[in-house]
Structures are given as C-alpha cells and as structure tokens.
C-alpha cells in the first residue's frame, strides 16, 4: 500500500489506497480514531462512503456532510449519508462518527431525546430571544430618532414595553412554527430529527431538522413542508388580528398582530435561511444549498446584506409611518419586526461557510462499487524538528502529540517551537527550572492556554476546544491547588465528581487512594500543605482520567509527605494512565519517569529515557581522591588521559575506563577515602543548558 506520505502541518491529499498518517484529516475524528485504537486499521469504502468519511472531518451534521461531499464532486444524498453512518454506528465500530454528539464549536442541540441538552437549548433560546428583542428595540429607537419619527415613540413608553413583550411572544410562536414544519414533514414521509435551538455565537434560531426530505419523490411534498411553518404563522396571526378587531385594542395585542404580520410576510421572502427560499427551491427541484447562493453566504456579503437591511428597515419605516403611527405602537413593532427578520436572514446566510477540506477522490461511476482501501500503519511519531528525538518507544500509540508549538505573551515567548510525543500509558517527565515554560506547556496541553501557533493533540482532541469528552478524559493537579475552601474534603471531592460527571462513589475511592479517609469530614482550609496536595491529586484522579497532568505536586512538601506522595504516584504507573509530570526535582524524575523532556527557555533541549540521557549526555563517572593521598600531578600519572581537577581537598578525575583507573589507584595509594560519583540527571541538565538545578 503506497501513497503520498503525510506532510506535517498540511492537509494531505488522499487518494484511493493511501497510507493515512496519524495527522491526516487534521485534528478531528480520524486522528481520534487512530489515536484511540493504536491498531492497524483497514476500512473498506466505496467512493461515496469515502467522500462522506472525508467530509465528516469537524462536522456533525449528516446533511452538511452530504452537501460538502456533493459540492466536492461526489454526489451523495442525505439519506445515503445517514444510512452509511447509521450502519457504521450500528456495528459499534465508529461511535466517533455519530454525527449529533460531541460537536466542536457548534451548539446545536435537539430539543427532544436529550433533556439536559434541551434545557441548554432553552436557556439559550430565552437568553437570545430576550437580548435580541432588546437589541432590536434599541435599534428601532435609533432608527426612529434618525428618521425623525418621534411622535409615536416619545411620550408613549408603554408602547415599548408592549413591543418587548410582543417580541418575547415570538418565542412560543416560533416553536409552533417549527412544530408545524415537523408535523408536515412527518405527514409526507420524511424523517424528523428534532427541533433545535441553533446558536452560533452571533445569531440564534429555532430549527426543525429533517434528514431525508430531499429523498421525497414528489416536489410538492417538500414545498408543503417548507410552507407549513408560514401557514401556522398566518393562522396564529389571524387569530390575534381577530381579537384585536373584536375590540380589545390593547397595545400588546396590537403589537403582536403587527409583529406577527411582518414576520410572517418577511419569512416568505426568497432569501437564504427563510422559508420562502426553501419553498421556491423545493418547487424548482434544486438542492437546499445551491451553488449560486454561495456568494450570499460569505461573511463580507453578510455584512453588506446587514447594511442594506438596516437601510431597508429605515426606508420601510418612512414609507409606512403614516399608516403605522395611527396604530398603537405601530412604529416600534415594525422596527423590531423588520430588524429581527433581517438579522435572522443575515445570520442564516453565514452558517455554512466552513472551509471544505481538499480530498482527491473523483466521482464514482454510477452504480459502481469501487472499493477504496484506507490503511493506517501506526508508526512512531513524526520526525522531530531539529535533532531532538521526540517519539515514544516504538509501537506505543500516542496520547499526546505536540508540533512546533509557540506561545507568545506580550513580553515573553514562553514556548518556542516545542515538539514531542507521549505514548499511551507513559509516565513522562517535564523538567526545567522555574520560568522554563513547563507550566505554560501543561496549560496548553490541558486547554487552559491556547498556543499562538503549532498543533497540540491530546487523545486526538484539540485541547483549546474544551470538548466534553476531552475534559472527561483528562485530570490535572495544578501547581497551586484550588479548592472550595469552606467545604470538607468529602464535600469537595463529591462536588468535583459531579462536575466530572463521575459516579459519586468514586469520590470516596479517590480519598482512599490518597489515604485521606481520616480527613473526609475536615474542612479543606484546615488541612496541612501535604494533605491539601493529596486532596488536589484525589480530585485529579477520581474520574479515572486517561491522561493525568501533575504540575509540581511535591513542591513545598516536607520530606515525609513527599515520600508518601511519590509512593502514590508510583502506583499510577501500573494502571495504564498516561502521566505528564512536571517537576524541578530531578531525582523524582529519574525515579518515576519512563522518559523525560528537558525544557529550557521555552525549548525542549532533550527527550529520552533518563538512563539513556545519562549514558549519552551525563559524561564519565567521577573519581575523587583525597589530595593528601595523591596530588594533582600524581593523579595525572596514575590515570593517564583522564581529566583531573583540584576540587577543595580532593582531586577529581574523569577516567575513560573506570575499572582500570580504580585498579591503578588502589595499587598505588589504596582505596581508603576514595569516592566515586556516577553521572545523574542533573549532570545532563547542566551539560545541556549550562545551568545548575538549585534545589537538589
């Protein structure tokens, strides 16, 4: 199996029978899959399936994935895409592809089936509706002042209160609207996937999502589904209009009627995101997102559209003011209605501007079942930048992958092109003095800080996105332990268990692991430093994370507490947890770590097993001979070729062959008072950085 090798930092072009490296499909589900299994994987796909899989990168929505594949040249219907993903998910093989879960950067949640998500959706709906209404009202006031139409607004503040309330009433109306869409879709045989609150950080909308609408054999069915919502609006508006006509001229009723009329009529405009647009496309048999609407969906066009919208809103007010001012609160209602409508249209138009990754597949022959093989061979990490070896021992799947990471603060570059890998189950040490960049590095790995440039993957996730699955898979003990200070140990750990979505019983288990059960009912702020550190570690490990970050856990501990903590950490080595251990105690690193990285001034100067580093970089074993036994000159004579130096009352020798040197010294002056010192990690550190670790 051959193909182009993956190029770090660039999205590779995939062809049939391509070797997929660890970082192909940069950053999302593929990487995660491969990173998770660490096994050789062959996936047999036809071209359409291959295109879908490629397009699933970073997306969560079957419809979007299908459209992306279609735009890229492989025509795939939403139904086909859904069946494909369903079949994979049903076999339990690709849970990572289940499109609705675990969305990066997107907040769409279904309103049914997932109560917690629905609540989240509702909270957002309520917040967004309220804020949107007030912003629209403020916009209306500005427009009114600008156009000189003041008489209706000024002096009638209650109109504006009524307008706000009427705008809030659009929320239940919007829900009825979407329910009508859902009922119509269901009646004509499409599959309804739920009503969702869509919020992308700028605009919000309620949406009824259907999955197989474009598979319906008759166009009119799609038209019916598109028009069902406006029809429900019309009925509702007519009812409100009747109540108003019947004699109750309350401001709220009048404004609801006006707002409803404007929104219903406006929704029938042929603008992307509005029902009029959908109905026309369905009637013409076009795709839901035809190519020609692409310019409308660009951000710059959106901005221009919004500008036009405001201008249009003002013009409409000027035209309508004679009629509107005669109605109670007419002008505010029109202002709010038009502004809201156009904001919605502008928001919708920008929703599908995600970049589409380039994939080199070509359309399959119609009906063809060409088999595409994607093969993954897990190889040790990619070539490192510079001469530093960064890969874990061969064959170990990766838990952490860091490439060329730079973190620039205004005054200082904390990380300067850091690259390394950590294998799953490894106990990995990060060594370096204070200010070397260790904590910044750990914060970047845990998502507490974002890299200025470079790539970070932990278990295949981008930490900066703070995805739920990622956060549940890591644990961290911070350098300065943080607590709910007035809570007891038990209360604190139970709270942390709930926050981590872990079983409540794990809190006590964690306390037992760090031998803190005796302090279970004591307040955290009454504990000693060592006990607090153990509480912090218990909180970090209680949910059994797959990757554990420990940032100088033994700092500021007395020797006894430190020893007990090291014993605890040693037990973590055995249970398969990947541990990233930051310290400036080199002896601890030597004792605990499978591999260590030495960090200095934001760079990694060496990565290897401690023993290999010492053997390679530590230099020769030193022999100390009391100067009373042998002077510097005599020592030179005894061990020719060795470096010799007077250090206090002793001569220090660095012989090439230790055994021969000791034999020669013993024969000449005896070994009494002679000492040897093997190289240690601090010698490596001194040699590589020119600095002395000050605490050992």
């Amino acid at each position: 199996m051959t193909g182009p090798a993956p190029v770090p930092g660039r999205r590779p072009v995939l062809t049939r029978r391509t070797v997929v490296g660890a970082r192909s499909f940069d950053g999302d589900r593929w990487t995660r899959l491969l990173g998770e299994t660490g096994q050789d994987t062959v996936v047999r796909l036809n071209d359409a399936q291959f295109a879908l899989l490629a397009r699933s990168d970073g997306r969560r929505d079957v419809e979007e994935i299908a459209h992306a594949a279609t735009r890229a040249g492989t025509p795939v219907t939403t139904g086909q895409a859904e069946r494909f993903f369903d079949s994979l998910a049903a076999r339990g093989r690709v849970r990572w592809l289940t499109p609705v879960e675990d969305a990066p950067r997107r907040a769409t949640r279904p309103l049914r089936g997932e109560p917690a998500s629905a609540v989240r959706g509702w909270v957002r709906v309520v917040l967004a509706t309220g804020t949107g209404s007030l912003v629209a009202t403020a916009l209306g006031v500005v427009v009114l002042s600008w156009t000189g139409v003041r008489d209706a607004a000024a002096g009638r503040p209650t109109d504006w209160v009524a307008t706000v309330l009427a705008a809030l009433l659009l929320l239940p109306r919007g829900l009825l609207h979407e329910l009508a869409h859902a009922a119509a879709a269901s009646a004509v045989g499409a599959q309804v996937r739920g009503i969702r609150a869509h919020w992308d950080g700028r605009t919000f909308a309620l949406e009824c999502r259907t999955s197989s609408l474009d598979l319906l054999p008759r166009r009119w069915r799609r038209v019916v589904v598109a028009l069902a919502g406006p029809a429900a609006d019309l009925v509702l508006t007519a009812v409100v209009g009747f109540v108003w006509h019947a004699g109750w001229h309350g401001d709220l009723v009048a404004q609801s009627f006006l707002l409803g009329t404007v929104a219903t009529a406006g929704n029938l405009l042929v603008l992307p995101g509005l029902d009029g647009h959908r109905a026309v496309l369905a009637a013409l048999g076009l795709s839901a997102r035809p190519r020609w609407t692409r310019p409308v969906r660009r951000p710059a066009t959106r901005a221009a559209l919004l500008g036009l919208a405001v201008a249009g809103c003002a013009a409409a007010l000027l035209l309508l003011r004679e009629t509107a001012v005669a109605l109670p609160g007419g002008v505010p209602a029109l202002a709010v209605g038009l502004a809201g409508l156009l904001l919605t249209a502008a928001g919708h138009s920008g929703r599908t501007t995600r970049p589409v990754p380039a994939v080199g597949t070509r359309p399959a022959p119609r009906g063809g079942r060409t088999v595409t093989t994607v093969e993954h061979n897990w190889a040790p990490g990619h070539a490192a930048r510079g001469e530093v070896a960064v890969a874990p021992p061969s064959g170990r799947p990766l838990a952490i992958e860091v490439r060329d990471v730079v973190k620039q603060y205004p005054a200082v570059r904390a990380l300067d092109g850091v690259s390394f890998d950590v294998g799953q189950g490894e106990f990995f040490g990060l060594l370096g003095p204070n200010g070397a960049g260790k904590t910044t590095l750990v914060e970047t790995l845990t998502g507490l800080a974002t890299a200025t440039s470079g790539t970070v993957r932990v278990l295949g996730y981008d930490p900066a996105r703070r995805e739920g699955q990622f956060l549940r898979s890591i644990g961290m003990q911070t350098q300065t332990p943080a607590f709910f200070a007035k809570l007891t140990v038990g209360e604190h750990l139970s709270t942390m268990a709930a926050l981590q979505e872990a079983d409540p019983a794990l809190a006590r288990e964690a306390a037992e692991r760090v031998t803190l059960t005796a302090a279970w009912d004591r307040r955290v702020d009454q504990l000693s430093g060592g006990q607090r550190q153990r509480v912090a570690i218990a909180a970090a490990v209680l949910h059994h994370p797959r990757v554990l970050f420990l940032d100088e856990p033994t700092a500021a501990l007395d020797p006894d507490a430190r020893r007990r903590l090291l014993d605890l950490l040693a037990t973590l080595r055995g249970d398969g947890t990947t541990v990233v251990y930051t310290t400036h105690h080199l002896s601890e690193a030597e004792e605990l770590c499978d591999r260590v990285a030495i960090v200095d001034e934001g760079r990694i100067v060496a990565v290897d097993r401690p023993s290999d580093l010492i053997a390679r970089e530590g230099g020769a074993t030193e022999v100390f001979v009391p100067v009373m036994k042998a002077s510097l000159t005599r020592a030179h004579e005894l061990v020719p070729g060795a470096d010799a130096e007077l250090v206090g009352e002793r001569v220090r020798l660095r012989p090439t062959h230790l055994g021969e040197a000791l034999t020669a010294i013993e024969a000449a002056v005896g070994l009494g008072g002679v000492e040897t010192r093997s190289p240690r990690l601090e010698d490596v550190y001194l040699r590589l950085t020119g600095k002395v670790m000050d605490d050992e």
């Binding site: 995660r32 899959l33 998770e36 299994t37 096994q39 050789d40 994987t41 062959v42 996936v43 047999r44 339990g92 093989r93 849970r95 990572w96 879960e101 997932e114 109560p115 917690a116 998500s117 609540v119 989240r120 909270v123 917040l127 309220g130 804020t131 007030l134 209160v161 706000v164 093969e375 845990t446 998502g447 507490l448 278990l459 703070r466 739920g468 699955q469 956060l471 549940r472 898979s473 644990g475 961290m476 911070t478 300065t480 943080a482 709910f484 007035k486 809570l487 209360e491 604190h492 139970s494 709270t495 942390m496 709930a498 926050l499 981590q500 979505e501 872990a502 909180a539 059994h544 994370p545």
Partner: protein
C-alpha cells in the same frame, strides 16, 4: 493487520451521562450555598445588616404617614428590603467569583466540562434563595405588632419580582467581578454603585417628593423597579400594571447584563 478493528471506545466512560448538566448545577449550587452559609461575613451582610437598617427606619418613623396617607413603615420596608436584596446579590456573587478566580478555583472548574453558564446559573440559584429568605425574614419581622406592616393579599406576586430583581443585581455583581481584581475591591465598587442608586431610586423617600431630574434618573436604575415592584406586591401600593412593568424591566436589565457578564466572565 486486522480488518476494521476500531472497537475501542472513545473514552473510558463513553459519552456524557444523562442529567450530567443538572447534577453539575446542583453540585455547584450546593457548594456555593455551603460556602455562603459558612461565611459569617456574608451571613451578616445578607441578613443582619439589612434588618438592622430596616428596624432603625421603622423605629425612627414609627407612626408617621406619607402625604397620601400611607404609613411610612409600609413605604420604607419594601425599599430597604430591595436595597438589602440588591446588596446581597451584587456582593454575594461578586465576592464569590473574584475569590474563586483568585484562588484559581475557576481554572479548576475550567478543567471539567462545566460551562460559564452553569457556573453563573448555579450561583444565581443561591442568590435567589438568599433573596427569598431575606424577604421572608424581613416581612416576618416588620409584621410584628410594634411595626405593624400590612402585608398585601397579592404578596405571592413578589416571587417573580424577587427573581427578576435578583437576576438583575446578580448580573451587575458578575460584571463587577470581572473588573475587580481582589475580593476587597468588590465591596468598594458595589457600594459606590449601590448607595447613590438607593438615593436616586426612592428607596428612602418617595419619588414624587423629589426634584424632577432625580425622577428622570431613577427611570434607568433597576433598584427603582425592584423597590416599586416589591412595594406593589408586598404593601399593595400600585397597580398590577406596575407589577408587570417592573418585572419586565428587571428581566430586561437581567438579560442584557447577564449577556454582557457571560461574555466578560474570565476564568483567570
């Protein structure tokens, strides 16, 4: 090489557990509530201080009436309750958030799937419970014979007013917490904002009695609406329309300020 051996689960425990969000909010609320109950300083400012001020006013103006014939005690009790509630909400949340940030607890929360909204919502629930408790305690005390506060039959309508008012001042507290660097500063900013607001909002004296421009200023201050809303519901002054307007305006303040606060909330 085996074929499609991709059965390993994504994480040790799979996807989020059902109800996890609700449990997170409950756990955070419980933690914040215990924190509040075990903090004597907070207890004093939430309960004892407003009560002392209220009793002082009740004693001083006992038996006096406003020009419209309303007993002064009926007028001043809801106003001072509103002031205490606003104080508790701003200070409570501001202090907690700044302290959580200073002790890096917010960073610890950021390492869990907890969202900003959950942090704010859980803290709001605690603030709401404190406000309701303040209302019950204050009304119970001033209803005693020496003071003779007349509780209106529509007292139950105070609940949405309290909820909206607490939300508005809670949001203000969140905003204060994002500009204050230390817990001590929170008190300073809160007082600097709240004391003038109390004077301009007609908490201590009726708005019709003051000069016109103060009346104008009061229309943009949330404390005026909280005070009026409580007065309309607890003392029965004012119309249902006024209750509705006060609740709507307070909700508006809360929504806008909470939106700003959620954006401004810093983890560190």
């Amino acid at each position: 090489m085996s074929e499609l051996t991709t059965t390993a689960p994504l994480t040790a425990r799979g996807g989020p557990r059902p109800g996890a969000r609700r449990r997170r909010i409950a756990a955070l609320s419980a933690a914040a509530a215990k924190d509040a109950v075990r903090n004597r300083f907070a207890l004093f400012f939430n309960f004892a201080f407003p009560l002392v001020v209220l009793l002082a006013f009740e004693f001083i103006y006992s038996g006096q009436h406003l020009p419209n014939g309303q007993p002064y005690s009926d007028y001043v009790a809801p106003g001072i309750l509103a002031y205490g509630m606003a104080n508790g909400a701003i200070f409570g949340v501001g202090y907690t958030l700044v302290q959580w940030r200073a002790s890096r607890l917010l960073l610890l929360l950021k390492l869990t799937p907890t969202s900003r909204l959950e942090v704010l919502l859980s803290r709001y629930l605690v603030a709401l419970a404190v406000s309701l408790a303040q209302t019950v305690v204050s009304v119970a005390v001033v209803s005693l014979p020496p003071f003779g506060f007349h509780l209106s039959v529509r007292w139950w309508a105070a609940v949405p007013v309290v909820a909206a008012g607490t939300a508005a001042f809670f949001a203000l507290g969140c905003l204060v917490s994002s500009v204050a660097k230390t817990p001590d500063v929170v008190g300073g900013i809160a007082n600097a904002a709240l004391v003038p607001m109390a004077f301009f909002s007609g908490v201590f004296f009726p708005l019709p009695a003051v000069v016109g421009w103060i009346h104008g200023v009061s229309t943009v201050l949330p404390l005026r609406y909280l005070s009026e809303g409580l007065s309309a519901t607890l003392a029965g002054t004012g119309s249902w329309h006024s209750v509705l307007v006060c609740t709507a305006v307070l909700t508006g303040f809360a929504v806008v300020l909470l939106g700003l606060a959620a954006k401004a909330l810093r983890w560190r």
